[in-house]
Point group: D2
Chain length 399, copies 4
């Protein structure tokens, strides 16, 4: 069926998996007049934000922040820890583990991979085996994407730490928490994560522009001997500054936003934030599973214990174009969906369900997707929205 | 089933029939620094707004504006036209026609009513009969609520004007367009309306605070002899000012908002704005009609040719409390519905579908209402949302 | 000298005496999404605002609020208290006392005036004499503009109350506090004021759109027997509503702003707010007095004990046009000054120094005015700004 | 004299040399809801911004943008052009040339310096001599800070290009335009600049968070052979993307702001923007020169032909603490001044006069500084503000 684009009206339903919806109160906080980043009044805000960020990361160790996107924090984690030719073990998860590996190679590091089926996720046993095989301890770090945004799958970080310990391997554990932090349970210190990479624009519900790394004492020791060239991201440079983060100008606006973000998160409570994400994610999955009947779209992730509660990738039946579904959703209904990344381009679309989200937002999105499937001629079992509603009504009934 | 309130998260779905959702670009325009209302730069904005407001009213006659709500414009229409003891013919439509009549009585006017069943609407024949019976032409004006916000029903103004003409009666025609202007077709000059009462906070998508009246040349003539005391609302006072509206300070902020509102409306085109309202309203009605089977909730309005495209009132089955449904929608799903007004309190709830609205917004709302009906134990035929989706997908398919 | 207009750049210095500068935090609070004015979450904000407004008014009696400008609150004070033909004693102060009197006459009331020289202010003895002469107690109310915005002069309300008491006259005392409340000391209950008329757009630093009246128990008793027609402003109608204010829609946006305004005022403390106004006002006066030498501009107000701390009117020497000075300040320096009102048009310009103001704002304004005087060829003793700086530096030195 | 801090009220006068004042319309544009950076509607905004940025840079060659601060763009310019051990010739200008050199060394480059007196600026002859002496053409690039923010001095880039040409040296010319672009005349192509480093937060009047480099064809050729490790800043990576800039998420919010920034700049006209900066800067200098009499504060820059029109550094007389002056200005008058950087700490303070600025803003600042000098007991010739006013009035009189 041909669908004529309409002038967008009403609020856009932003169902990309990131950046995410920004609550109005954060938008207004970010729209702050310029201040001196050394002004005592700003420093009080700043210090509160750093303390709050540590609570969200669940760490009492160090945090370094960057004016940059999530990729900046990735790069910071590497140039601060490693020397040219160092070896990393990257656990394959999807597009973002590939990108992280490519960045490491760009920077002159050697990458070994734990290969994985993107629909099932890496086997922990394979991680342990790879480490056990590295008797010389050439591997300096294990890189794990906590929540693979491209596929909607979680890696169980505690199991990976357990595998590292079981192998008696001294490598550092680096976790990309960009699309999990503030949405899914994450505990840097308790789980033995050495570097946690995060950004402003996902669970923290801020605009893109600030990213950060939680850094363990062990990682700080590794930093002392790293020889990759670095300046903008250099932790040692940062420690010499009042802010103990940032080289150059501090993006003050985002800290006013972060202060409000932390207020919202802690008002709700981290546990309740996670529970809300789990509830809405389950609604999406029930909807998709309903559609699946009769060769319809399927959940891309085939490992139920690794479903992501912040993003769901949906695989279209062979011969159908996910980009067409996305275009119809956008042009006819003002709903913005995520596309397939890398080798998944055109094959999947993705629904982000993280950040400032509630039932009618997710149901309005699912209803629009169901209509877009119909208009795109993608076979599916109608009634997915009703399945999602059954679940959400039941969940509401249980308080 | 007991529903535990949740901390509101995500954007509230505001499905009250007014005030309405304010687009971000209007919110930001309204957040304007203070300016001198006589500053030439502001006067240019002001003059453009007045011209645009006339285009929306479809009038080339006068417009007067007030710092005030819609009730202010009602009062302005009366104190500027009438003298103590004058008689008005109010066509009963619901809560707002009652209120208008009561205001007239408060101000010392005499009210005759054309009685009507609130679910079916007044008969045009009865209007004509009332006028024909007034051989002495005591009736100075016919008061018609174009769109009765409390019941979701439209009065056909051209038919009323035709009835007045048929009766050869010289009364003025006053129309309350508060919840129709900018949402439903309205043509002041073509339809022979003498005074059109409107407000900022509905189809114009602005905050509450500014209201206005379109005024015909005939109404200006009546104004010249009116003796009700007036000052704040006095048109003659206004004509002596540069702004030819307002007594006292001009609410400059709202004009920056109005400029953006008019830009949005005219970018889309009034006809397309009306078509969008009609499309979304029909989705609501198909949903409610689906629920209705087996003693479920019903459309309050029983006259299909008078369905309102800006608000729908839904009557609960006997013994069920509409306020409970509203409370659950608000507390569990962050959806704000309109309640029953006056004698309809507890019996109906209302869904506003006017202003800056699109498909996922209305579907997210309907889905939440369907869940709230379930949680409140109100009998209904599940699947109303699917019926709405059928319609909206079909409409999108037709471009 | 000819001055070519420039495109305005930088922030406009808004030195009109009202509306006033709105702090960013209030602008952002006002840019609130629409809410249901009966929503419990809003009602909590609303109730806090009403309580805070009473603290600013220093009353424990009633407050009624209106969607409207200050003139709406004036009209409300009259239609709620009086009956056709009732007599008011208006103390002449300037343009606004004239306007108030004219409004009373528009509404069918009889006005007696205590005449006054606008540059010196009314004599309290004349007020007492007028009351003493009214043995029949025909005068129902004394109307006093606490701070005459057109001339920059204050009326000592406690002295007026004392005069009323001395005369043993039962009239009500109505005070227009529009440009004094939140800027100058005002104590409704302690000073025996029966109705205090105020608006959002001055000391409360909000956009225009909400006004209010504090109402004493004695005034409520008078209301019970008043016979002027009223509906939109009717206190009795209001008392029947949950909000005990407003007829029709509540302007919710402004209440989010008012909540922030009250927070700012009470964070600083009312006494400190008044002290800041007094300090900045004295800087303006010292500047003008310095200019005055050799037939320069003069303070319009000739009674030092009645200087207004929220606005200063400056009288130009004969033969010089105040509007030209204003135009140059606006076009060359982006400084907006107040003009002369009514019979003072062209003769005076006014500097508002109320609301959210500090030293560099007032000094930037005064410097621009001094340059504008020069460019307009108005004789003056240069160095007024230095005189203001002497004072402000001394004041800062004393903490 | 002891100065008691006051609670800040009124708008802060932000007279730091950067970040700069952000106009309200830009703040509101930046407060944009999240969008997909691949959404066609966003891409249209993005492409317009890139074209506009090129007009401001006066280049038709390449532009690469980074989520990062100005230091990120510095780093990008180095890692994209050079290989380990490459030599740069850094022209000493002050704190920022030192920092740039230090960053180069951090990244493994070799730095030669053209030493200079910070108060007089480098001699062009010394630049030419250094290049002429480099017969082997070991110097890969000349690094020049166009406007040294720490001292308020400009380097004449055309003269440097002429010196390079005169020496027949093939080195690239890298210019830091962070505090000049959009404030001072700069012409990348005409002046033969190979890399121009700029940031969002100065003349473009945006929040900190986006920086960029204009890149010549010659620089692109050098890029092709550079071997410093790079990923986040890698131009080749960027060219493979639709946006031809950014690795990772695009900071969409800032582009809505940039669109408005470009609109403001081009509405005024670049030449008029520069003229405004020159006019206001001259006012500051005349004020400071007036203060200087009798061992008062002096202009730090001793070379009048190199005065910066975007920032002025002011040297306090021996034995006086610039930080105390800054603290008093902040705490007593809510004026934020820049401090002395590096070896100038405590010796100078700086007034930024760039971006969205006008006469009353600069005069309010100067008046506050003069009061702060007095309160801090710093000797000075009072009347600097009057000297600034004389100049500004004269300039206004000339249209």
């Amino acid at each position: 069926m041909d669908v004529k684009p309409r002038l967008p009206r009403g609020r856009q339903f932003f169902a990309n998996p990131g950046p995410t919806n920004i609550p109005d109160s954060i938008l207004h906080a970010v729209a702050h007049v310029t201040v001196d980043f050394n002004d005592p009044a700003f420093l009080a805000v700043y210090d509160r934000c750093v303390a709050g960020l540590k609570r969200v990361l669940r760490t009492e160790q160090s945090v370094f922040m960057y004016t940059g996107s999530g990729h900046a924090a990735w790069e910071a984690s590497m140039v601060n820890l490693f020397s040219p030719g160092d070896t990393l073990l990257v656990i394959e998860s999807g597009y973002f583990s590939e990108n992280w590996a490519r960045m490491a190679q760009d920077l002159g590091l050697v990458v070994r991979s734990v290969a994985a089926d993107w629909r099932r996720g890496a086997e922990i046993g394979a991680v342990e085996a790879a480490l056990a095989a590295d008797a010389a301890h050439e591997i300096k770090a294990v890189c794990a994407v906590h929540n693979e945004t491209a596929t909607g799958m979680v890696l169980p970080l505690p199991a990976i730490r357990a595998a590292m310990d079981a192998a008696g391997h001294p490598a550092l554990l680096l976790a990309d928490t960009i699309s999990s932090l503030g949405s899914l349970d994450f505990r840097m210190d308790e789980w033995g994560v050495d570097v946690a990479v995060g950004g402003s624009q996902k669970g923290l519900m801020l605009p893109t522009g600030m990213s950060f790394t939680g850094v363990s004492a062990r990682a700080m020791a590794a930093h002392a001997t790293s020889r990759l060239p670095k300046s903008y991201f250099n932790w040692t440079n940062m420690l010499a500054r009042r802010h103990r983060s940032f080289v150059g100008t501090v993006p003050t606006s985002l800290f006013y936003g972060l202060e409000e973000s932390l207020r919202l998160i802690e008002e709700e409570g981290l546990e309740q934030v996670f529970a809300r994400h789990a509830r809405l994610a389950e609604a999406v999955r029930r909807c998709v599973r309903h559609w699946s009947g009769n060769d319809g779209p399927q959940l891309f992730c085939l490992s139920p214990d690794r479903y992501s509660d912040s993003v769901t990738a949906i695989l279209l039946p062979e011969g159908h174009d996910a980009e067409r579904v996305r275009r119809i959703a956008l042009e006819a209904f003002n709903v913005s969906l995520g596309g397939g990344l890398g080798r998944l381009g055109g094959k999947v679309f993705r629904i982000g369900h993280l950040g400032d989200l509630n039932e009618p937002m997710i149901l309005g999105t699912l209803a629009s997707v169901e209509m877009a499937l119909r208009l795109a001629g993608v076979p599916h079992n109608p009634g997915g929205v009703a399945a999602a509603m059954d679940w959400l009504a039941e969940a509401a009934g249980q308080g």
